[in-house]
Amino acid sequence: MSAQPVPPRQPALSNEEILRYSRHLIMPEVGMEGQLRLKQSKVLLVGTGGLGAPLGMYLAAAGVGTIGLVDFDVVDFTNLQRQVIHGTKDVGRPKLDSAAERMADINPHVRIIKHDTMLSSKNALAILKDYDVVADGTDNFPTRYLVNDACVLLGKPNAYASIFRFEGQCSVFGYAGGPCYRCLYPEPPPPGLVPSCAEGGVLGILPGLVGTMQATEVIKILLGKGDLLVGRLMLFDAMAMRFRELKLRKNPDCPICGERRTIHQLIDYHEFCGIPRHEPPPAPGLKDWEIDPVEVKAKMDRGERFYILDVREPHEYQICSIPGGHLIPLGELPQRVHELDTADEIVAHCRSGMRSAKAVDFLRQAGFKKVKNMVGGILAWSDKVDPRVPKY
């Protein structure tokens, strides 16, 4: 008599888990079979920001057995308006730690795997290959195309959503030979033509709604139940409170999922999106958050738009100032930070550059990514740019 194959190991639910999941277990669409399926499943969340927050919390609560998180960012104050997986106490902590802690509190039965890295063409296939479903909650075009291509190459379904101001898009890509992100948009917009959330803003509850739609699709894929958003693009407008559904067809000429595909491995997605891989390096001797007064003057002469933040005291401002400066004394900055816009390029200065260095530190912590300190302050401005400005 030949040996029988060993049946796959079925994890059982503990009594505590049966109680926890009882509202799932008593509905036929999930039941014990579905709940065990969730427990055996592995889902990767790319990004633990606005979309990642509801995804992480609801998928953990639902009992998805293994949830991987990819992020490299730290929590800042500007995140808290929508990224409800992080709290005020978490500002300055890695988002991975903060999110994992919250998810473990919601459901200690979930295994959380932290991938503390930026997803790239080098690591994406290795990270994604162990998961059943990927949920893309990133904030930029290069990573959107990277996640899509990696999912198509590995044959993983990708629960997709994207948001802007008060509008969202949601779909499921690469499921059972269905259309992919490149079928929807073959190419990204050139840099600068489409504003990001940091530049255009986003209604705080929007990622809550849209990320929950994404999580719904993840659960349905895992359960194998319901009508998925495969071949359908769902649009949501929060201001109109209106959903619209459009047909999404598989593009026969799609370069990655079409019949005559031309992409067989991951490419350079920054190049594909026309984005320089690195910011131009700072001048010799300067840190990347520092700028020389001569360069500030050159930016003014080129007519570039940027915000000049003067963090001195009002009585110093009366002595002298540089053109276009907005006075917010260092001590008032935490209360008046809302007067600044994270989308603006900001150059901070003071008399010698010491106080403005503190201001730049504070603003960077608060989520301002385009803020620089004018080194040497007004003293250096007087020496190098305009000797008519008195030193004091």
Partner: protein, 92 residues
């Protein structure tokens, strides 16, 4: 007349309207009228060669015009044209 739904990122170039009624027998004509009325929209919808940009999809009702007759797609009264550009935000 067809109704063109303007997406959030483009409303600033369309007089802040979320929808505009335009006349036109085809999608191309209707979009041409739209751009005549709101010239700032042109560079967001068309590239320098005058072709619809590949990150802007246009739908008549729920169908992508790429799978109809593209800009030659005929319009019937009451049709709704949707402009759906690519957005990348995840609320980071």
């Amino acid at each position: 007349m067809a109704k063109v739904l303007i997406p959030t990122p483009l409303r600033q170039y369309a007089g802040k309207n979320d929808a505009v009624e335009v006349a036109g027998a085809t999608v191309g004509e209707a979009l041409g009228k739209l751009i005549d009325n709101h010239p700032d929209l042109r560079r967001h919808l068309y590239n320098d060669e005058g072709r619809l940009r590949s990150f802007v999809n246009v739908y008549v009702n729920d169908e992508d015009i790429r799978y109809l007759k593209k800009e030659h797609t005929q319009l019937a009264s009451g049709d709704v044209i949707s402009i759906v550009p690519s957005i990348a935000g995840g609320g980071f």
